[in-house]
Amino acid sequence: MAVISVENLTHTYSIGTPFERTAIQELSVTIRQGESICILGHTGSGKSTFVQHLNALLQPSSGRVLIDGEDINKDKISRRDVKRRVGLVFQYPEYQLFEETVAEDIAFGPKNMKLPKEEIEERVLEAAGFTGVDKALFTRSPLELSGGQKRRIAIAGVIAMRPEVLILDEPTAGLDPAGSRQIMDNIRSYREKSGATVMIVSHNMVDAARYCKRIIVFNHGMICMDGTPEEIFSRSEELTGIGLDVPKAAELAMALRRRGIELEGPVFTHEQLLRAVRRAAEVPVC
């Protein structure tokens, strides 16, 4: 069980130089076990900075990050241990692959945890299964694979550590729609099977709505909205104001509802809209 609570977190880069820049300020948020969270926000709003605090890669300039009530920056040991509990997949993680074979690269995390050999092998197989990495690739060099395959291997490398909290910074950046959907489905199946908390940083509204139950919106280093997709997307003007936009389907659904057309269930994607409209058409409008 891991409950993360962030208290008044502020981070300033390059303190004391002309390049000083406060990336996030006075953030407070609580994340419960098993949640699926999406973090949205314009470029430079502090999303990546924020997630790097959750596994102690960055230390707060002020404020605290607690897991189950314990400060993760208490000492060196807890800073190390938190990296095993909170797995972070960076933006463009394929640039961190370095081993000679795919299997060895996935095993890098578990190896650092000093696990026995059999356990490492088991975890590599499991992680590869979750991310759809074919066993035939295990002996290939990760550097000669396609971008999408590399991305999966990098994600598998983190999943192999069996983190209780899995954080992915823009996992689908630069992939085609089919590739990104596959990766998002893989991540969802990992969450469902392992019960881990999943946090996804994204620019993609449809993904956010489809895969996450909670959306946190960042604006200039602060949290400006926090709620379910329905709640967030009903504030479309505000979203547009901070440089984000609501999925087209959600916007259309809202417009229809305003006109008095009853649409069932959450409507964020084209498929959901189509289904809801079909169903609404069966019921005569009076």
Binding site: T17, P18, Q52, L57, K83, G87, Y95, Q96, F108, N112
Partner: protein
């Protein structure tokens, strides 16, 4: 962490020193160094220090930043000072001691000389962007082109190297964070273990450096880059009144130091 390396870093600003033509600054640094090596007496050193502090004050570079840059050189400075203290002949400060007054005098001057030398060059790199610096160098050395010295190519290589240092540092930082997130440990263990721990950083770094070099070459070629022949610059270097004033001050300063040397000050 790696970002703390200040060597060769540029601090943007809008002071008169920042606005000087890079060629002026390059020449004045040479003047400064010549002056420094001709300063003999304490009075000349006092003038050197005053001039250095004045330049720092005008260019709004704080002592703290200079010290940060000096830190890696501390060892060499201390060693030189120690050697000078112990190996200089003269009158001992106490009967029977090997430390001499002359030794202390030389040691302090030596320390000052190295510190000032580094400070002077830092003032140049802190106030001049790498691009301006290489432009200035190219212009200054362009007469050598007549002797078939590939000045343009050399400065282009230099500016590219300078351009990519911050990028590579940033990349190293990123890769390090990513590997740390996978449990890599760079801080503990024996020397061999730590050397091995560098592999997960070096491999991706080299891969991306080669990729970048490749992309850059393609980008340059597709924009029809073909070397220095007939190329013009977007920002033409231009001497202004400020530069003339700086040259005059530099000349007065150098003359002053030489006159003081003449009188043994």
């Amino acid at each position: 962490m790696l970002k703390d390396i200040t060597l060769g870093q540029y601090f943007p600003g809008d002071t008169p020193v920042h606005r000087l033509d890079p060629r002026t600054k390059l020449i004045l640094v040479v003047v400064y160094i010549i002056a420094l090596f001709n300063a003999k007496g304490w009075a000349s050193y006092a003038v050197m220090i005053a001039v250095t502090l004045l330049c720092m004050w005008i260019s709004k570079i704080s002592l703290k930043n200079i010290f940060k840059g000096l830190k890696p050189m501390m060892f060499i400075i201390a060693l030189t000072a120690l050697l000078n203290i112990f190996y200089t002949q003269g009158t001992p400060i106490r009967e029977g001691w090997i430390i001499t007054w002359e030794g202390i005098d030389r040691a302090v001057k030596m320390m000052l000389r190295i510190t000032l030398l580094i400070t002077g060059t830092f003032l140049l790199t802190y106030t001049t962007s790498p691009m301006a610096l290489t432009d200035g160098l190219e212009k200054l050395f362009s007469p050598l082109k007549k002797l078939k010295v590939p000045v343009h190519e050399m400065t282009l290589m230099m500016s590219m190297a300078l351009r990519f240092i911050p990028t590579l540092i940033e990349e190293t930082d990123k890769i390090m964070s990513a590997q740390k997130a996978r449990g890599a440990d760079f801080e503990t263990g024996s020397l061999i273990e730590r050397a091995k721990a560098l592999l997960p950083i070096l491999v991706p770094l080299f891969v991306s450096a080669f990729r970048r070099a490749d992309e850059l070459a393609i980008a340059m070629e597709s924009r029809c880059y073909h070397g220095g022949e007939g190329r013009t610059h977007m920002k033409q270097l231009q001497f202004t009144g400020l530069d003339i004033a700086a040259f005059l001050l530099g000349a007065v300063f150098l003359a002053g130091i030489f006159i003081m040397k003449r009188f043994g000050l």
